[in-house]
Each structure stands twice: as structure tokens, then as C-alpha cells.
């Protein structure tokens, strides 16, 4: 493994916090672990605060800000050191970076802390590209994939650009283009169960567009979208499935078996 | 104002609700950005831009020939099969059109609309107007209503023929607004026209002549139209 060539912001932080997110914690821990390992392989100490749980987004977007606030307040105090906070999900990162400020409001005693944290939140691929300026050495077999970026990751965090930049570094990976790339997959948190017909229609269209590319694998930086798209694909009997981008990158960086 | 008691209490209630919580006034915005960055350009560039934009909008733009714009107008009428042309109530003396042998029958918008409705809606083939000025970057004619030039002349007849002095071309709408100073004395009706009437309301298919003129013909001159 070649040493990392940190350029980006010119800083190579020695230590970072890792915020796993609730979905990754219970449903795709491998994605979290892969992300942490990729960071560690670049000589970064990764601190995982044990008391972390969820950014509060499910309650916040469902119209329960008071409940969201209680959960978010529990997280805010976990990041006392001035280290970057890495989040393997664009929508959770967007929640912590942008929506926490609205949720807490200027009068909340934790507001200053929330503001300081906002400047330190990085979505995982964003951190690799913009801060570490990584160079990836692709050791996997040639393959064709397709990328789906979650809407909040795209619109709040610009993750579609950083994910694409990382995948472009993989020599043997061809990234195919799906129709209506920027359109939502229909997850939307509780939207998926409050408006199940609409959500299903959107998920169905998205799954179809992704599968129609003929890619072997779907890659995404967001577990919400992945569970929605994978669940839809599997229910329809398709063998085509998606994987978190951290898991995928990790698999490409390992020496061939 | 003929405010009924109801609307005057509605007025008071609405204003009171709007003022129930003081809203700090924001600073006056300045209009600095525009869609095109044409800037000041020679007349020729503006003329070209006007022409191409109007043509893209399905209008016809014709440069008046050496025999003068009356000859051009006559030819346009001939080509379009225009047999009756309605002129404004009065044109400036230097611009007036004398009855001609070859051209279409001329009439004037010299009665109130109520009297002229039938001929305006059912008999006149084309209306003739003078543009106040025009806007290059969108291909837009500016017409002012006046006792001399009624506004329906550019609306009701199926063909609208408009004379424009190309020296009265502005780059864009903000520039036109700043230079023409309309805000100080607004005409009854000021109308920006950027092509013949059209609609895409049926299956997004463009069709011309929805309610207004089916064709717009602009004759360009370099002569004072005031």
C-alpha cells in the first residue's frame, strides 16, 4: 500500500472521530468497519465514541423535533476534541452539519457546540477526497458498477462529486451511467411507510434504471437508499444488489486473494 | 375608492395582521445581475440579436429597402395577401401613409373600440403600429398605448406589422427601464411583444395564433418615429 499523499486542504489530521449512524450500526456494520479501516490504513487514529447512536434525523424529518433534539443533544457532547467527525452517510452528515443548527436554534445552550461541530463534519468520501486527497491503488478484478448518491448527500454535501472522484481512481472499475441519475430513490425515512405507494413507485423506477445499466454491482454512500433499493430489487427476485461505497473501496484496496 | 364597508374592514384586518409582528425592513436590493452579459454594443450587434431572437420566436424581421419603408410595407402586404390594413388614429406627419393604388385598403383606428369592434375582429387583416423601442437580448418590441395608437391594434387583427427605429434598441430590459424612465409617467398600457401569439397547452406542442396575431412582421428603419 503506497503511503497516502495528503494534499486537499494540506492537513492530515492525526485523529478523527467516527460517527457510525444508526442504520450502519444495526444493518450494515461492515460498511462502518470498512470505512474505519480505510482511514486507519492511512495512518489515522479513528476514535469511535461508544455512547453514539443516531443523529436524530428520523424524528426530525417526521415532524418530531423535540424527540430528535433529545437524541441529537446526546451526540453533540461526544465530540469534545477538535477532530474531524467522519460520517459514512451523506444524509446523516447533512443532518449534523446543516439541520442540527436549525433543530437546536440559537437559544439552545448547546448551540455554540453544534456550530463548532458543523464545521468539522465530513461525509466519508468527502473526507477522503477533500482532506486526505487520497490516491487509490485498485487491486480488484475488472468490474462494472453503477453509483447512486442519496439526495441529501448530493444537494447538501456534494457527495456525488467526491464519490465519483474516488471511483474514477480505480483503474479496473468502470462506472456506468443510469438514467435520471439525480432522481430520488423514494426512501425518505418515514416517507417510505407513510406514503408506501409513492415510495414504492420511485424505488421501482430507480431499481429498474440501475439494473438496466447492466452493472454487476450498485455502490452508494448511503445506507437508507441502499436498504430501500436492495429490498426492492430482492423482492422483485433480482440478484442485482448494492453495497456501501466503503465496503466496496475496502475490497478493491485489498491484495488479490 | 368605492370601498364597501366589508372591504374596508377587510383592509384594516389584513394590514393589522401583517403588522401584528414587526418585520425589520431589509436593505433595498440593487439590480446588478442579468441573464446575458451583452453590455453596450454597436447598433449592428443589437440589431442582429433582436432579429435572431424574434425570428426564433416565429416573427419576421425585414430591413426597409432603399425605396423606404412604405414600399416595404406595401410589399409585405402583397406577399401576405393583406387586403385591409388598419393604421393608428394618427401618425406623425412625416410618417403618414397616403392612400395608395397598389397597397391594401387602409382604415384608421379613429373611433372608440365599441364602434370598431366588428371591423377590428372580423374585417381587418392586419394592424400597423409604431414601436417605442425594443430590447435586443430577448427580441422584444415595446409598444405604448396612447390616444393616437390604441393597444388593440397590436392584438386583435390576425397580422401585426410593426415599424421599429433600430437606433432605439436597448441591450436588455433593465437597461431599457433605466434609460426610458417609464416609471415617472406610466402609459395606460405598456406592452412588451416578443413574437406572434402562441400556446403549447396541448401536449406541449407549439401552435401560433392562439388568441392574438398569428404573425408578427417587424420592419426595421433608421428614422425618427416620434
Amino acid at each position: 500500500m503506497p503511503p497516502p499523499t495528503p494534499k486537499g486542504t494540506g492537513s492530515h489530521p492525526g485523529t478523527v472521530y467516527f460517527f457510525g449512524t444508526c442504520l450502519v450500526d444495526l444493518f450494515d456494520p461492515l460498511a462502518g468497519l470498512s470505512a474505519m479501516e480505510i482511514l486507519e490504513q492511512r495512518g489515522i487514529r479513528v476514535v469511535f465514541p461508544d455512547s453514539q447512536s443516531c443523529c436524530g434525523q428520523p424524528a426530525y424529518t417526521s415532524g418530531y423535533p423535540a424527540e430528535a433534539l433529545k437524541v441529537a443533544a446526546q451526540q453533540v457532547v461526544l465530540f469534545e476534541e477538535d477532530w474531524p467527525i467522519i460520517v459514512p452517510s451523506g444524509s446523516c452528515a447533512g443532518m449534523m452539519k446543516h439541520h442540527w443548527l436549525r433543530l437546536f436554534g440559537k437559544d439552545h445552550p448547546l448551540y455554540d457546540k453544534v456550530q463548532a461541530i458543523a464545521g468539522r463534519i465530513y461525509e466519508f468520501t468527502e473526507f477522503l477526497v477533500k482532506v486526505l486527497d487520497v490516491r487509490l491503488d485498485d487491486r480488484g478484478a475488472p468490474c462494472k458498477i453503477v453509483l447512486h448518491t442519496s439526495c441529501s448527500a448530493r444537494r447538501e454535501m456534494g457527495v456525488h462529486l467526491t464519490s465519483k472522484a474516488l471511483l474514477a481512481q480505480l483503474d479496473k472499475v468502470e462506472v456506468l451511467q443510469q438514467e435520471r441519475e439525480a432522481e430520488c430513490c423514494g426512501f425518505g425515512g418515514t416517507f417510505s411507510v407513510r406514503q408506501p405507494e409513492l415510495s414504492a413507485a420511485m424505488a421501482g423506477d430507480k431499481a429498474q434504471a440501475l439494473e438496466a445499466t447492466g452493472a454487476e454491482l450498485l455502490v452508494s454512500a448511503d445506507c437508507g437508499c441502499l436498504s430501500n433499493i436492495n429490498g426492492t430489487l430482492a423482492k422483485s427476485g433480482s440478484k442485482f444488489q448494492g453495497q456501501h461505497i466503503a465496503t466496496f473501496l475496502k475490497s478493491r484496496l485489498e491484495p488479490k486473494a | 375608492m368605492s370601498a364597501t364597508p366589508q372591504t374596508s374592514s377587510a383592509r384594516a384586518n389584513i394590514l393589522a395582521r401583517l403588522r401584528s409582528k414587526p418585520v425589520p425592513p431589509l436593505p433595498q436590493p440593487t439590480v446588478q445581475v442579468w441573464t446575458s452579459q451583452m453590455g453596450d454594443q454597436p447598433v449592428e450587434v443589437l440589431r442582429q440579436s433582436l432579429k435572431s431572437n424574434l425570428e426564433a420566436a416565429h416573427a419576421e424581421v425585414i430591413q426597409a429597402g432603399p425605396e423606404g419603408w412604405r414600399a416595404t410595407l406595401q410589399k409585405v402586404c402583397q406577399d401576405q395577401g393583406i387586403k385591409t390594413l388598419m393604421l393608428p388614429r394618427s401618425l406623425p406627419p412625416t410618417l403618414d401613409i397616403a392612400p395608395w393604388d397598389q397597397g391594401p385598403a387602409l382604415s384608421r383606428f379613429d373611433q372608440p373600440m365599441e364602434t370598431l369592434k366588428d371591423s377590428l375582429f372580423n374585417q381587418v387583416d392586419a394592424g400597423f403600429t409604431l414601436a417605442e423601442c425594443a430590447i435586443a437580448d430577448t427580441g422584444t418590441l415595446v409598444l405604448l398605448s396612447s390616444p393616437e395608437q390604441p393597444r388593440s391594434l397590436s392584438l386583435v387583427p390576425p397580422v401585426h406589422i410593426c415599424l421599429l427605429d433600430v437606433r432605439r434598441l436597448h441591450t436588455d430590459m433593465p437597461t431599457a427601464l433605466a434609460r426610458e424612465q417609464w416609471a415617472s409617467a406610466m402609459p395606460t398600457n405598456l406592452i412588451f411583444v416578443s413574437g406572434p401569439s402562441k400556446t403549447a397547452d396541448i401536449q406541449q406542442t407549439l401552435a401560433y395564433g392562439a388568441h392574438g396575431p398569428k404573425s408578427l412582421i417587424v420592419i426595421l428603419v433608421e428614422e425618427d418615429l416620434q
Partner: protein, 486 residues
């Protein structure tokens, strides 16, 4: 004048009621309709994109548009008074309506005064909002829509499904059948040109004969007392030029201070709406027919409508709702609107803007379900020419519609708390307790992963079209702890 021949069978009342889900399902199950909406929205999105080739310029224009709208709103009551004073000075009579009934009364009264049983209408969403046509029919009068799309929709006894393209849900074949059936002396033709010429013929007669014309207003300019109307067809000009009386109706938020504030908003409006750099006509009306003038209406009236706008205005967090210039770009880009079209919403204004403005007009008790009908993807906010933060407003409205009890410190929204579901509230209370208590969460995660085989296979709405969510064998928390202890 002949008796008005306008059908009176339009469905009553814009109110979403409980039917949103079933109405949207009906469209979702109709592949033909879905295809046609999709095609139309793709077309409008491409046309808009072509008008904004330079992203930096677009963002600068949006910032300017936002600044103008925010500034105008910050001085709204003053500007309304200035507008009224200048319109009155110019001879235009101003009326104020707090609610739809008052607007209906004012307009019906004006028609009575003009002894006009029929009005011919240019496009006006506010007239739809106050359900003017029904009110006039109920009073023995009638209204004829003259915008081609609105005319088609009225002939069909339907409602507009889009604020800019009202008949976007209909194919030319449907319109051809409709015309052949409803317009006397017309044979079936599916040539768009011929169909438009049929409409032109019918409506020109009406423009000529009818004594009252109605229009909406895109911008009202306070400093000059001017009403600005944007259109392509010329029916707006007809309605405001030929009849003896012109009645304009608009929401109180449409006012801007200066004439120079208009071009930037116009540029954003037409480009965002239909991808046009400019519309065929941009019509500025500043007075009725003056002495010595030969045409134009002898009377011009403006009806300023509140209908819930003051509620949005009074709260800083909802004021930006009123920045809207009604371009429709949010619906053109909305993945939900694209799939169900406008009629399923059941409100005058469909799509994202409809979801954030309707609660103020109709109350959250009727529109609570609509605010949940968004995945919060943010496409609407991204294209909004005046940067209304639509997704954030939706989140706030969701909270308001389910809030527990009245908060004594802030003014209530109409229907606040009316969508509170005890089950949901309880679920989020438990969720919150679990996710803010590390010990409890640890126990929960341990059991969820250990007993993953017991995870329900039927997870309600989720598993109707998806496989169930099954926890991993171990949580990330646990895996991290194991690694630490290695």
C-alpha cells in the same frame, strides 16, 4: 348577449381530504398517465436547463430574485398601502378580501354592477383558489376560461393539474374527442393547430361580446401603481383590453416596490416555468381607458386576497413561503409530482409549493397528509428561482401538524396538531428514549442482532414491495469493541 354556455359540472371545492393516497395510487397504477407526466416533466426540465447554461449566473440571479422578494415582503404592509394609493390615483379601484367568500362577493357585485351575466377569464390561480367559478354559478352567473389549457380543462369539467400548463394531463386525442363532443359544429381532429384554431374561434366571439374580463397578476408595482401580466397566448391581453370592465385578482404577496425589481423576477419566472427567455407578451396595466383614448376597459379593479397569507407572514419561519412567484419549477422537478400529476393533490396549488402554501389557506387539518408526501429529496429547493427552502418548510409543517399541545409563545397555525397520531407520538417517544440512553441502546442492539432470526418478516408497508430489514449478526458498536479488545 346569448346565455352563457359553460358547463356547471366542475367538481366542487379544492380540499385534499383523506383521499390523497387513493388518488395518487390511481395514477400510479396507470402506466399511460405516468408515461405522459414523465414525458411532459422531462420536456420542461430540459427547457429550463437550456435557459441557464451558466451555473454561476443562475445562482447570482437566484440570489438577486430572493433578495428582491425578501425585501418586498419585509415591507409588505407599507408597499400594499403605497400600491393602493398609486392605483387609486391612476383610477384603478382596489378591493380587499380576507377570505374566498369576500373575494367572491366583491367580484359578483362588480359583475352585477356591470350587468354582466358572464365573465371571460385570463389565467388566474388565485381565482381558482377562491373558487370563483363555482361562486358565480351559484349566483346565476358564469365564467368562461380563455387560456387554452384552462378552456380545455373547463370543457372537460376538470381542474387544472399544473399551475402553468393546466391541461398537461391530457393528450391531444382526448382533447380532440372533447372538442368534437362539446364544441358545436366541430368534427374530430387531432391536429394541434386545428384544435387551437377551434379554441381561438370560439373564444374570440366571447372576448368581443363579454362585458367583464378577469385576469391574475404576476407582479404589482407599488411605486407606479402598475399590474404586470405574463403570457404567451394573448388571451390575457384580450381580457384586459376588450371588455368594459377588467377585474384583476391576486394575492397580497405579489407586490414589489419598484419597476426595476420586475425584470429580474420576470427573467427567473419565464425561464424557470417554461424555459422561455421571455414570453410573447408582458403586459403592464397602469390605468383604465383615459380621456381621448379609444380602447381599453373603462373600469379596472384589483382584488387583493389574503386567504391565509397573513398567517404565513406572521411567523418568520413560514414567511419565505410568500416569496413564491408561481413558476411551477418545483413541481416540474418533483419526483412525486412527476408520478402523480397535479389532480391527485386535491388542492389548487399542487406539487411542492402546494404542500407548503395550502396549509395556510385550508388549514393543516385538511392538508396534513400532503406535507408527508415528500421524500425531502430537495429537488424543489434546488430549482426554486427565489430560493424558498421548501424541504425545510415541509419539515416544519410536519412538526406543526403533529405538535402535541398549543405552544403559548407562538401563534398557532390553522389546524396545528390536528394530525397527531398517538401511536406515532408514542413510537417516537420510545425511539428517543432508546437512542439517548446508551445502556438501553446497547441492550437493544445486542438483542436485535442476537435474535435477528426473529425479526418480523412482515414489516407492514415496507415489506409490501421490499424484503424485510434484518439486523446484522453484530452491531458496529460491538464489532468496534471486539477490535479494541483484540
Amino acid at each position: 348577449m346569448s346565455a352563457p354556455q359553460v358547463n356547471s359540472t366542475q367538481p366542487m371545492h379544492f380540499m385534499p381530504g383523506p383521499g390523497f393516497r387513493s388518488r395518487s395510487k390511481e395514477v400510479l397504477d396507470n402506466p399511460f398517465l405516468r408515461q405522459s407526466f414523465r414525458g411532459a416533466m422531462d420536456f420542461l426540465m430540459q427547457k429550463r436547463a437550456a435557459q441557464f447554461p451558466d451555473p454561476a449566473n443562475l445562482e447570482a440571479l437566484r440570489s438577486q430574485g430572493e433578495a428582491i422578494r425578501k425585501y418586498s415582503l419585509s415591507r409588505l404592509p407599507d408597499l400594499l398601502e403605497q400600491l393602493e394609493a398609486n392605483l387609486t390615483r391612476n383610477g384603478i379601484q382596489v378591493h380587499w378580501a380576507e377570505n374566498p367568500e369576500q373575494a367572491q362577493d366583491i367580484i359578483a357585485g362588480l359583475m352585477e354592477k356591470a350587468q354582466a351575466p358572464l365573465m371571460v377569464k385570463g389565467k388566474s390561480m388565485v381565482s381558482e383558489e377562491v373558487e370563483l367559478n363555482h361562486a358565480l354559478i351559484a349566483r346565476g352567473m358564469d365564467a368562461l376560461e380563455s387560456d387554452m389549457g384552462e378552456y380545455i380543462v373547463q370543457l372537460a369539467g376538470e381542474r387544472p393539474s399544473h399551475i402553468i400548463m393546466p391541461a398537461i394531463h391530457k393528450t391531444k386525442e382526448e382533447i380532440a374527442r372533447l372538442f368534437a363532443e362539446k364544441v358545436p359544429g366541430v368534427d374530430y381532429t387531432d391536429s394541434v393547430d386545428e384544435l387551437i384554431q377551434i379554441g381561438r374561434r370560439v373564444l374570440r366571439e366571447k372576448f368581443r361580446e363579454t362585458k367583464v374580463g378577469l385576469s391574475g397578476v404576476n407582479f404589482a408595482v407599488a411605486e407606479t401603481g402598475t399590474l404586470c401580466l405574463v403570457e404567451n397566448e394573448g388571451n390575457g391581453r384580450m381580457c384586459t383590453t376588450v371588455p368594459d370592465m377588467h377585474i384583476a385578482i391576486t394575492g397580497i404577496e405579489k407586490v414589489v416596490e419598484k419597476l426595476e425589481h420586475v425584470p429580474p423576477l420576470l427573467a427567473l419566472l419565464t425561464r424557470s416555468a417554461t424555459g422561455q427567455a421571455v414570453t410573447t407578451y408582458f403586459n403592464w396595466i397602469s390605468s383604465p381607458r383615459k380621456a381621448h383614448e379609444l380602447d381599453g376597459p373603462k373600469e379596472v379593479h384589483l382584488v387583493l386576497v389574503d386567504n391565509g397569507r397573513t398567517q404565513a407572514y406572521a411567523r418568520e419561519d413560514f414567511r419565505s413561503t410568500l416569496q413564491c412567484i408561481r413558476c411551477g419549477a418545483c413541481m416540474n422537478h418533483c419526483p412525486v409530482y412527476t408520478r402523480i400529476g397535479g389532480l391527485a393533490y386535491g388542492t389548487t396549488y399542487p406539487g411542492p409549493i402546494g404542500k407548503i402554501i395550502s396549509p395556510h389557506m385550508l388549514g393543516l387539518e385538511g392538508t396534513g397528509e400532503l406535507v408527508t408526501a415528500s421524500s425531502l429529496c430537495g429537488a424543489c429547493g434546488e430549482v426554486c428561482p427565489v430560493r424558498i427552502p421548501i424541504p425545510e418548510l415541509l419539515i416544519d409543517l410536519r412538526a406543526r401538524s403533529q405538535s402535541g399541545g398549543p405552544d403559548p409563545f407562538t401563534p398557532q397555525l390553522k389546524g396545528e396538531g390536528s394530525n397527531r397520531k398517538p401511536f406515532m407520538a408514542l413510537a417516537f417517544s420510545l425511539w428517543s428514549l432508546l437512542y439517548r440512553s446508551p445502556g438501553l441502546y446497547r441492550l437493544f442492539a445486542w438483542s436485535a442482532t442476537r435474535f435477528r432470526a426473529l425479526a418480523p418478516r412482515n414489516q407492514g408497508a415496507w415489506t409490501r414491495t421490499r424484503t424485510p430489514l434484518i439486523p446484522a449478526k453484530k452491531s458496529l458498536h460491538e464489532l468496534v469493541r471486539e477490535r479494541r479488545n483484540q
